[in-house]
Amino acid sequence: MKRKNDFIIRKVAEQYVIVAVGEESKRFNGMIKVNTSGAFIWDLLETETNIDSIVKSILVKYDINEKIARTDAEKFIGVLKDAGAIE
């Protein structure tokens, strides 16, 4: 999976948000609020990746156990999929 180019992440008032631009914004007109670990996962999605690889990267960066990392990553990926932000 990989993030779509017509979704961008920006910082608004100390909060990361993901929004759609261009034609995609006519379909998805909301925003996805993202914390720093979400922003980290978003960066990983710049190139083709999978959930196992994302979890591995999270475990390198953050001091959390694998179960929590996987649950959080899957939850966030689910939100992105629902928004149509990844392909």
């Binding site: 961008i8 920006r10 608004v12 008032a13 914004s25 998805f28 925003m31």
Partner: protein, 160 residues
């Protein structure tokens, strides 16, 4: 979570984001605050869809513009003056704000989302609303009458 874009951010905080989305040819949906655009826009329930103004605004367009004090305002163009500036007024107001320049315009409404339904500004019912509500003498009369009724009601409450 998908949430309205400016539900918790001020428009000035979203300013760069609005520019980026509109410059990309996209649409930016926001939930306006205040009562100045009633009855068209009801705070908390109705949203508006902004696009970039590609050409000079026309009479009855609704731009999002920035006042010289930095305040973001969403009101309707009522007059276009010979010097190219706009006279702008909220649908719930009758005093026209003059001298708004193109450089102050951030975007223009292409649709209103009311009760979850998108109403484009090209919609016939919307155009009928504009024709009736933007006939300023009628609006002036209605708003003045409403204001008078409120005052009478308040006085009656004090007496009773």
């Amino acid at each position: 979570m998908q949430e309205p874009l400016n539900n918790e951010f001020s428009l000035s905080e979203c300013s760069d984001l609005i520019d980026e989305v509109l410059d990309s040819g996209g649409e930016f949906t926001l939930y306006p605050k205040g009562t100045s655009m009633r009855p068209l826009i009801r705070q908390g329930s109705d949203a508006v869809v902004l696009i970039k103004a590609k050409q000079k605004l026309k009479r009855f367009d609704i731009p999002l513009y920035i006042r010289s004090n930095g305040q973001y305002v969403l009101h309707r163009v009522i007059k276009i003056f010979k010097n190219g500036t706009y006279g702008i007024c909220g649908d719930n107001q009758f005093l026209i704000e003059k001298g708004i320049k193109d450089s102050q315009i951030k975007g223009v409404i292409c649709a209103v989302i009311r009760d979850g339904k998108r109403i484009n500004t090209s919609n016939t019912r919307y155009k009928i609303y504009v024709l009736i509500w933007c006939f300023m003498p009628l609006r002036h009369l209605l708003l003045k009458t409403r204001s008078l009724l409120y005052k009478v009601k308040a006085k009656l409450k004090k007496i009773i």
